[in-house]
């Protein structure tokens, strides 16, 4: 890179700005007006640059950044300090483990009672199933079903079945969309 003038180098100008210039530069200034002017203008440029004001974005900038921030690998927490949150987590884990332990202990100590409950529950379920099967078997003979079948006819029944199937499929798709996890793009860092 060429120096702006034959007498001074850019290093000389940098040294002048820092106040570390060689004595020979001052000796040269005594006889060279062009270099004095060059150095003076260079200093003025730097001073004006250093005086440029720090500009500010509109108020609420931090809020806009936080709103646009993706949670990424480190989710943003509230202002709860770290040590309090850790204690709460530990307490929740202890409570859960304690509950499980208590439940298992009680079950082991009351096995005969549990057995009698199991038998009674199975008998009740069997009775319900029998009743339900009997009701389904009698359904075609029910007056309501006969009337419905007569009124709808073949085409009507077909449309009704199609409508119900479509509504069912739509419901399944909607539930799938609702429970699907959102995919966040990972921004490039640097």
């Amino acid at each position: 890179m060429t120096a702006p003038l034959p007498h001074l180098s850019w290093d000389d100008l940098d040294d002048l700005l820092m106040g570390t210039e060689r004595q020979s530069v001052h000796v040269h200034f005594e006889t060279c007006a062009a270099c004095r002017k060059l150095a003076s203008l260079d200093l003025e440029v730097v001073v004006q640059l250093q005086r440029l004001p720090a500009l500010a974005p509109r108020p609420g900038f931090a809020d806009r950044v936080m709103a646009g921030l993706a949670t990424g690998a480190v989710p943003i927490r509230s202002t709860t300090p770290l040590h309090t949150s850790a204690w709460l987590k530990a307490a929740a884990v202890m409570l859960t483990l304690g509950g499980i332990g208590a439940s298992v202990s009680w079950s082991l100590a009351n096995q005969s009672l549990l057995q009698s409950w199991r038998v009674a529950a199975l008998e009740r379920l069997a009775g319900l199933a029998q009743t339900g099967l009997a009701a389904v078997a009698m359904l075609p003979e029910a007056a309501m079903v006969t009337a419905l079948r007569d009124s709808l006819g073949g085409v009507g029944m077909g449309l009704a079945v199609t409508g119900v199937a479509t509504a069912y499929l739509a419901g399944v798709l909607l539930v799938q969309r609702l429970v699907a996890l959102p995919r966040r793009p990972v921004p490039d860092a640097v």
Binding site: V45, L49, A54, A56, F61, M66, R77
Partner: protein
């Protein structure tokens, strides 16, 4: 529970808290660097709304990548590096012609060179350039606008943000000699522009 006062804490301490996900640490980092980052980007892209969007993008990138920040480097250098890259990427996408005293480097015909040659008298500025110059308010701001983006970022980081040559070289991933060259050429152009404006 009240938020801890971290205003006087060093950057590394705030970054460590931010890595744990503390929102108040995120906000403190934004508070510390929003003005210098915005200033740098604004002087690079010369449009307030765009500068705000890019500054916002910068902080989102910084905070999203806080876990990968290496503490052995200065946090401020890292932030300015991302800010500068964001501004440069925007300028490249926009393919803004930097006004030069000798016409745009992208001009291929004599008509194109003439159309992009800066008229330094001030009377022939476009209305947009005149408004920008007024808004920024000083001759030096108008002169900075004429620099090539790579010169502009180097001179702003050196003499506005007060970064050392070595730090700028590290930030911009350029050789030290190249950084010095860019800064000296930028000072040369600013000096010549100011001299011309005053004659």
């Amino acid at each position: 529970m009240p938020t801890p006062d971290v205003r006087s804490a060093p950057d590394q301490e705030i970054v460590a808290l931010a890595r744990e996900g503390a929102e108040y640490a995120y906000r403190e980092l934004i508070r510390r660097y929003e003005r210098p980052v915005f200033s740098l980007i604004y002087r690079m892209v010369r449009d307030r709304e765009t500068a705000e969007d890019l500054a916002q993008e910068t902080f989102i990138k910084v905070l999203n990548a806080i876990a990968s920040y290496r503490p052995e480097f200065k946090f401020s250098s890292w932030v300015f590096k991302i800010a500068n890259n964001t501004a440069i990427d925007h300028l490249r996408r926009r393919e803004l012609d930097t006004l030069s005293l000798d016409g745009s480097p992208h001009a291929t015909t004599s008509e194109g060179v003439e159309a992009t040659t800066l008229q330094v008298s001030g009377d022939e500025e476009s209305p947009l350039e005149a408004v920008e110059a007024l808004e920024l308010g000083t001759e030096i701001e108008a002169a900075i606008n004429q620099l090539r983006p790579e010169y502009r970022s180097c001179i702003l980081l050196r003499h506005v943000e007060g970064r050392a040559y070595e730090e700028i070289a590290e930030m911009l991933e350029l050789p030290l000699g190249t950084v010095k060259t860019y800064i000296h050429r930028a000072r040369n152009e600013l000096r010549l522009t100011l001299q011309h404006l005053r004659e």
